[in-house]
């Protein structure tokens, strides 16, 4: 950091209006987004269990291949785009 940078940085830091602007720059995400992200590990674990079961259960495997989104939702797993892609990839590899 140069002295010029330091000066402008400090001037900004000490400015109440700028602090207010910075506080306003980080609003919370819409309701439900944080909870959904926090629930990811649980859904990921649920997917692991379901795919492991499908290796020995032809009917379940057929259901997953037939309508993956519905099969995940029925199992209480939130079928987010990322999780669907992950599940499809693992079903292809299995």
């Amino acid at each position: 950091m140069t002295s010029h940078d330091m000066t402008s940085y400090d001037m900004k830091r000490y400015d109440i209006e700028h602090l207010a602007e910075l506080l306003a720059a980080l609003p919370p995400p819409p309701e439900g987004w944080v909870a959904a992200a926090q629930a990811l590990p649980g859904h990921r674990q649920g997917l692991d269990v379901l795919l492991a079961q499908a290796e020995h259960d032809a009917e379940l495997r057929a259901r997953l291949i037939g309508d993956l989104e519905a099969a995940l939702t029925e199992s209480g797993i939130e079928a987010s785009p990322h999780l669907l892609e992950l599940a499809r990839e693992r079903l292809r590899r299995a």
């Binding site: 940085y9 000490y14 207010a20 306003a24 609003p27 995400p29 926090q38 590990p41």
Partner: protein, 183 residues
């Protein structure tokens, strides 16, 4: 109680500590959201998809993070890349739409600085944190803040002013600009 550093949160997440994961998401949710919406101006549905995808990637790729204290820049880079991928994909589907990225860097600088201010905010008394967050970040009225915190609405303006002064002092005690990078 002392807040965990990023490195401690990451280490606990690797041990499948659910509370640590919740803390990581809570700590960086506004940051990721701001990059998506303010930096890259994603539409709400795209922003939500990217937001969830970023945290899914973090969860899956945490073992690849070489330095546990580098969570913030790693997360920023991951969010940028995911936003750009999303914009490129949208541009392929609707080639007529121009992807505007000209002022992304300027906005991202502001977001970085804003996150540092939030770090300083976390050192203030809880009432101050609530008042400033509700007024500036959540855009709530004096009345709504008063109702939520059981305070007379007529005192909110002066409390905001006092809390901003305290925040300013907290920032002045902060060593620029890396001190809070490891929060």
């Amino acid at each position: 109680m002392r807040a965990l550093t990023d490195a401690e949160v990451v280490a606990r997440c690797r041990s499948h500590d659910g509370d640590a994961w919740n803390e990581l998401v809570e700590r960086y949710s506004r940051y990721v959201y701001a990059i998506c919406v303010q930096g890259f101006r994603l539409a709400p549905q795209d922003a939500e998809d990217v937001f969830q995808e970023v945290f899914a990637k973090v969860y899956e790729q945490l073992d690849r993070l070489r330095d546990d204290s580098s969570l913030r820049p790693w997360l920023a880079q991951m969010t940028r890349t995911t936003c750009i991928d999303r914009l490129r994909s949208a541009a392929r589907q609707q080639p007529a739409e121009e992807v505007e990225l000209a002022d992304v860097d300027h906005v991202l600088e502001l977001v970085e600085e804003a996150l540092t201010v939030r770090g300083a905010l976390a050192t203030l008394p809880e009432t101050c944190q609530e008042i400033l967050d509700r007024f500036f970040s959540r855009d709530q009225s004096y009345r709504a803040i008063g109702d939520a915190l059981d305070l007379p609405a007529g005192t909110i303006a002066s409390r905001i002013s006092r809390c901003l002064e305290r925040l300013k002092s907290a920032m002045e005690e902060t060593e620029p600009p890396q001190r809070l990078a490891d929060r």
